[in-house]
């Protein structure tokens, strides 16, 4: 009846992990909960971008242009006024008026923000209440230039007199530099990791306990090694979480492409690869930790309590990484902690984004994280196998590790 494959464990462990991961994916992708949450999240993300776009249109980022009219001799100030106003960041529409009275009536009517009359060296202005202060400064500056010209100064002399003092910003040693665009990407990696693990970590833990609670693991352990079972589970659930994130990200990016709400920083392939690698490593590190603690309990209602320490470590790592990075990004403490596994997945992407992390530090951090993940799977597998027939109260860590049972 059967057509067995080569019965060689060395060649079957990748297949076992694949089979377990495939099952986890199929079950989740098919579940109504997954479909419903994905649809809701995609709609929410796209909707949020559209709402942001609508709000941006309602409150323009560029201030409205200021309408200014000049009459009589003051019209000579127009070029200088426009130039200074532009330098001060104000957009002005300048028009010529037949006389001062027309200007005043237009200001009163709201069609002008400022009506300038009089001579170039002694102008007077009628202004609306909402006139930006910078526009007044621009008019003062234009009038000063006209007065200096009236005293016979050349344009070069005037430029020399009105030239500002150059200020050179210097970063005090030890303090953080302002974040660049890439640094936010590093922060985003940590935030996405934290968000993804919020649900996926709990799913991994629930999946582990489900197999214990339904007792199927007694059958599974006769054919799959515990570490293979857990690796497959984490991989399957992780891929589904990644797919869900990708769909949400695609919804956000596509909607943004139409709505132009934010400018997406341009990242190179290497950078994207590095950030993605750290996301995957961080996910595996914390998902495996969820699996390890979940193996200690045997009932679904015990999962939340068992996984709480992992959630606290994850949250603590994220907050700690953020503080270290913002306050003392180049200190030896930050450098060392960015290499150590609990903090590496959140701290290292920030360091990479900011250009602080050396390649060797990234390499060592990755190596240590991968070794820790392998150790977690081994430990979780051992606990899983030793606590396979344990039911009731949560099993002690040392008992689960050594296989001692008291019943």
């Amino acid at each position: 009846m059967s057509s067995p494959l080569p019965d060689d464990h060395a060649s079957t462990w990748p297949r076992n992990i694949y089979l377990v991961a495939r099952r986890e994916m199929l079950i989740r992708l098919r579940s109504r909960v997954f479909i419903a949450t994905t649809v809701v999240m995609v709609v929410l993300v796209a909707g949020s971008v559209l709402v942001a776009s609508y709000l941006q249109e309602g409150t323009p980022s560029q201030p409205a242009a200021v309408n200014v009219g000049f009459s009589g001799g003051s019209q000579a100030l127009e070029p200088s006024f426009k130039s200074v106003a532009a330098a001060l960041g104000e957009t002005v529409n300048v028009t010529s008026l037949p006389d001062a009275a027309t200007g005043k009536s237009q200001v009163e009517a709201g069609s002008l923000d400022m009506a300038v009359s009089g001579s170039a060296t002694a102008p007077t202005a009628v202004v609306s209440n909402s006139l930006p202060g910078m526009v007044e400064i621009a008019l003062d500056a234009a009038a000063e230039d006209a007065r200096m010209a009236a005293f016979g100064l050349t344009p070069e002399a005037i430029t020399s007199i009105t030239a500002g003092v150059p200020f050179e910003p210097v970063q005090p040693t030890g303090s953080a530099s302002p974040l660049n665009e890439g640094a936010f990407v590093g922060l985003a990696v940590g935030l996405i990791l934290f968000t993804a693990l919020g649900s996926a970590g709990s799913q991994v833990a629930q999946g582990v306990v489900e197999e214990k609670a339904t007792r199927i693991m007694e059958i599974l352990l006769a054919t799959v090694r515990p570490s293979e079972l857990l690796a497959g589970k984490v991989l399957g659930i992780g891929l589904v979480a990644l797919l869900q994130l990708a769909m949400e990200a695609a919804a956000a990016l596509l909607t943004n492409a139409f709505a132009h709400v934010v400018s997406i920083p341009a990242l190179g392939i290497v950078e994207v690869g590095l950030y993605f690698s750290w996301f995957v490593l961080g996910f595996l590190l914390y998902a495996a930790a969820h699996a390890t603690v979940a193996a200690l309990v045997s009932r679904p209602e015990q999962v939340a309590g068992a996984t709480a320490p992992v959630t606290i470590v994850l949250l603590g790592s994220f907050v700690c990484s953020l503080n270290l990075f913002l306050r003392i990004p180049t200190s030896p403490l930050t450098t060392v902690l960015s290499i150590v596994p609990p903090l590496a997945p959140t701290l290292m992407p920030m360091g990479i984004a900011e250009g602080i992390a050396e390649p060797w530090q990234v390499g060592v951090a990755m190596g240590l994280t991968i070794a820790t993940i392998a150790g977690e799977f081994w430990l979780a597998g051992r606990i899983y196998a030793n606590s396979a027939i344990h039911t009731g109260a949560r099993m002690g860590f040392s008992d689960a590790l050594t296989g001692r049972q008291s019943d």
């Binding site: 019965d7 089979l19 579940s31 019943d407």
Partner: protein, 335 residues
């Protein structure tokens, strides 16, 4: 069967007064010279704290044999089966299949139905069986075909796309059995496979187990249904307090027990057997008495004593049931 001749040793042991709880060395009876493949459980022991679950337990199950494993609750049946499957590690001893110690690779050839049933409640039935088949190194196509085959056999093909949790408990039990059978194992270890089955399903499973045994599979199952075990098993092992206290075919076990006679002598008084050495009345049903003979007892002396009281309407050998044998060797309570 070769084991039958070995039973004589055990019977003799019992005649010599081997008590319940004493270790019975089944290897003494084993015919290891045959080339038949066998599951060898060799002196395994397991303790949980101060509790001894299995104590120097040894017996073999031959390929092609249906072996019934009976004992009271907590006698050590489930622990033994879990040790065979590697779910629990033995403190001492070894389990071998085909002469080689069981390892992870070999255990993949064992179909297992644990005492505590367990499959994925939300997984579709056919997918679940296919998945388990694939984990037992079957190809996807072969596993799918085998899954459908067993679903048809258990009359559940129509429910192949249903989630397990939507099936009745009896049908879930059938799926559990299919899960143990789907990859055509060389050894079947079934812990209480008949529990919870309706009579039709019992018949189907009985046929399946017999068929698997005929195909050369070594089948060991535990059960509290002693009449069923008596009816279908080639051999039976009785375990008590973690030790094997009897093993052999039911006929052999009967021969190993004390000889019993049904005697119906309506005129016999209470003391009609007083002068017959080695004869004791163990049960009465109206005028019928069940007389047990000690090794030095003589059935003809009993007959003579009965005839002396008047007419004798019945005088025949009483065949012990497995229940009687079980009570005899495992402390009296039904398993």
């Amino acid at each position: 069967m070769a084991a039958a001749s070995l039973m004589a040793v055990m019977i003799l042991s019992r005649r010599r007064g081997v008590k319940t709880g004493d270790t019975v060395d089944t290897r003494e009876w084993d015919v290891t010279e045959t080339n038949q493949r066998r599951l060898e459980i060799d002196a395994i022991s397991k303790r949980y704290g101060e509790t001894v679950a299995v104590d120097e337990l040894s017996f073999d199950v031959l390929a092609g044999e249906l072996f019934g494993f009976v004992g009271r609750n907590g006698a050590g049946k489930t622990t033994t089966m879990r040790i065979v499957l590697g779910v629990v590690a033995a403190d001492r001893g070894e389990v071998r299949w085909d002469g080689r110690p069981l390892d992870f690779k070999t255990r993949r050839r064992i179909g297992y139905m644990p005492e505590e049933r367990g499959l994925y409640p939300k997984m579709r039935v056919a997918e679940q069986l296919r998945y388990l088949g694939e984990l037992h190194v079957m190809t996807r196509q072969a596993a799918a075909a085998a899954a459908l085959n067993w679903l048809e056999r258990f009359d559940l093909a129509e429910r192949r796309n249903a989630e397990l949790q939507s099936l009745s408990l009896g049908n879930q039990q059938r799926i559990q059995l299919a899960a143990a059978l789907v990859f055509s194992p060389e050894v079947l270890v079934l812990d209480e496979p008949f529990a919870g089955l309706d009579p039709v399903a019992v018949d189907v499973l009985t046929d399946v187990l017999r068929e698997r045994a005929r195909a050369g599979v070594a089948v060991i199952f535990s059960s509290h249904e002693l009449e069923l075990v008596e009816r279908i098993c080639d051999r039976v092992g009785i375990i008590d307090h973690g030790r094997l206290v009897a093993i052999g075919s039911v006929d052999d076990l009967r021969r190993g027990g004390p000889e019993r006679l049904w005697v119906d002598a309506p005129a016999a008084g209470e003391d009609w057997l007083r002068n017959v050495p080695g004869a004791t009345i163990v049960q009465e049903q109206g005028s019928r008495r069940l007389v047990e003979l000690a090794p030095d007892g003589n059935d003809q002396d009993v007959l003579q004593a009965a005839l002396r009281t008047g007419p004798v309407r019945e005088f025949q050998s009483a065949e012990q049931s497995l229940v009687d044998i079980f009570r005899d060797v495992a402390g009296g309570a039904r398993p």
